[in-house]
Symmetry: C2
DNA sequence: AACCCTTCTGTGTGCGGGCACGGTAATTGT
DNA sequence: ACAATTACCGTGCCCGCACACAGAAGGGTT
């Protein structure tokens, strides 16, 4: 490992100039077959690797990445992927990466399209976005294809062969995992519940997947008698109604001893339960948002499954850089770890979200 | 965000040459107070940030990092930090980092000292090591101080003001966490056991800390009746003896329903237990080594706590680079996350260990 | 042979910053 | 007052690579 091989070295050894080496390296053409094979052979022999530092310096160009995701005001969740992007940006800024964030309304497809229009007025080199609206996202993907804009999707999976990659969670698996966690705390004959506190949960694909995973988990133990019940509830912001729902549930299912909340709203229900019950029953929810963490610390919530939203944004940027700058191959489908978070390790994860800047 | 400020820009605005700016930037002296304040003011105004790409290119130097850790043949565990280092190296090689690994015998302090001698023959810029022998490590640390060699410690904590940082796990907290996990699966009146399968466990600080954490966890619930028992056992490689130990334990403690193994040897005991019992009782162990994972997949082990050894090596290198190259401040004490690993999320963590290369 | 294309190749400049060298201005000593 | 020293400053080259441009080599036409 004495020294890095330079373009100059292989030029000398191949008996050509650096210009020629450069041409074969970048496949610019205009090089005789004879010279080409010579250069390639020497490169192989010496094990040449491009010096990325010198390369980026000489390129002297900036890659513009546009981010397209829901604004924070409707749902604080989206702050997390965005903060991951910002953090990633910090670490790769020197490579000539710039990030232009655009926000749309979480529940308004028209606003999405409008924002897409804005972005396309001055087309970036790449787009990183959350395809929350299927149809409208296809429009965007089509536009990307036409204009040769690289793109990466996070959070919601949409099948698209041209995209560089998708980064997100595996909903089925997270439901399965939730099953395991509840099961660990339940005894024979008890009841486990799956509770969707969501509007229109019946056609939200990720909720369907979670339920399937959850049921499949318990399906592994046909000999055991743990009853699974499920309930959808839309009025989760009405405290009274939520309270009476819960009363009703416990009346109906006297041996109910575990609840799986399929989204980040576990805290809402917990706040409607009397302390005695909350401490006794097992509760599994999603996402390290502040309200959930508060209840995790009080042992009102037992487990939170962390889908690493910060990491999603971070890896979105990193993957683009790996492709654009480092010309590496990236995996098309990237599921992030499902971290199991309890009172005793939550601080590590919170800290990691804050710091994270691995390098550069 | 139009453009990065260059040294040239601030030179122009301050009415001096780039050489002068360079001098104040590197505090080389030989610059008049007047010029200095002017330059500093302009730098402040324009928010200058060194272009690390151009800088490393111009520096054209290599930082030599020596790694010093136990060989793999006595304990495969040590392969993991090392592989993390190699991975980190890949991502920072372009910054002129070279890594020189040295291995010593896990149980032989003399071999440690001998290796230290080798390393010091041609002193590197920095040393990354696991201080498994306290006294001998102090010798090394002293040598580092004298020769101005930066150093980072991983895995075992040794207090030393001159070291750049320590990266490792928090043993107390991991015991505490194990308590929580077992508790979740235990019922009133049952027994939880802490089992040290180790030679000389009574004076291994990390085991003491783990026990303290474990007991402190259950100490939080004085009203509950969960009995905690502890046992040390050194003959863990003798299958017969281990089997009869376990028989004895279950005979003594008929309501024993959970075991916490304080190191990576949970699999050894699991293999001595009859299937009926193994599936019933709750088991928590440490480390994602192959044998443990096999039992995790068969549901013989319920939880493995991952202390992120790969990450330890990785972050060791990264922290050195952050200091040497990027001149960032690094935190002196870095505890890595304690990941809770179950059958349902183990693959994510295994995959992360393999890939990991966050960027570059 | 003179000319023009086309294909190919070498040289030179610049990216931003580190650093050495030589030069100018200011200061000290005699 | 003048030389000798010191304090300060600007210029230019280099790091390894990307890319433009000029020019050479070869082939074909008149």
């Amino acid at each position: 490992m004495s020294r890095q091989i330079r373009i100059k070295d292989i030029a000398a050894k191949a008996g050509v100039s650096t210009g020629t080496v450069d041409r074969v390296l970048h496949e610019r053409g205009n090089v005789s077959p004879k010279a080409k094979v010579k250069v390639l052979k020497v490169m192989e022999e010496l094990g040449y690797e491009r010096n990325i530092i010198a390369s980026t310096l000489a390129y002297n160009r900036v890659f513009r990445i546009a981010a397209l995701l829901p604004g924070f005001h409707t749902d604080p969740y989206w702050e997390q992927p965005f903060s991951g992007m910002e953090r990633a940006l910090k670490t790769v800024r020197h490579y000539g990466i710039s990030l232009e964030p655009h926000f749309f309304e979480l529940f308004d497809p028209r606003s999405f399209l409008q924002t897409v229009g804005q972005v396309l007025e001055n087309p970036p080199d790449a787009i990183l976005f959350a395809p929350v609206f299927l149809k409208e996202s296809r429009t965007l993907l089509e536009a990307c294809r036409e204009n040769g804009i690289h793109n990466v999707m996070i959070n919601t999976y949409v099948d698209n062969p041209d995209s560089l990659c998708y980064i997100g969670q595996d909903s089925y698996q997270s439901g399965f995992l939730a099953g395991r966690l509840l099961h660990f705390g339940l005894n024979e004959g008890e009841t486990a519940m799956l509770l969707n506190l969501e509007v229109g949960s019946h056609n939200a694909q990720h909720l369907i997947d979670k339920e399937r995973g959850f049921r499949d988990y318990f399906g592994q133990f046909p000999g055991q008698h743990i009853e699974i019940v499920k309930r959808d509830f839309e009025d989760f912001d009405d405290r009274q109604k939520l309270t009476s729902l819960l009363d009703d549930l416990f009346a109906r299912h006297p041996r109910l001893n575990g609840i799986f909340f399929t989204n980040s709203r576990a805290y809402k229900a917990v706040e409607c339960l009397p302390a005695g019950i909350v401490q006794k029953i097992k509760i599994v929810g999603f996402d390290l948002i502040e309200q959930n963490i508060r209840h995790l610390r009080k042992n009102n919530i037992d487990f939170l499954i962390n889908q690493n939203p910060v990491h999603q944004g971070y890896m979105g940027i990193i993957n683009l850089v790996n492709h654009l700058v480092f010309k590496k191959n990236v995996e098309k489908l990237q599921y992030l770890p499902l971290d199991i978070v309890v009172n005793e390790n939550v601080d590590y994860y919170l800290k990691r979200q804050e710091e994270f800047e691995i390098v550069l």
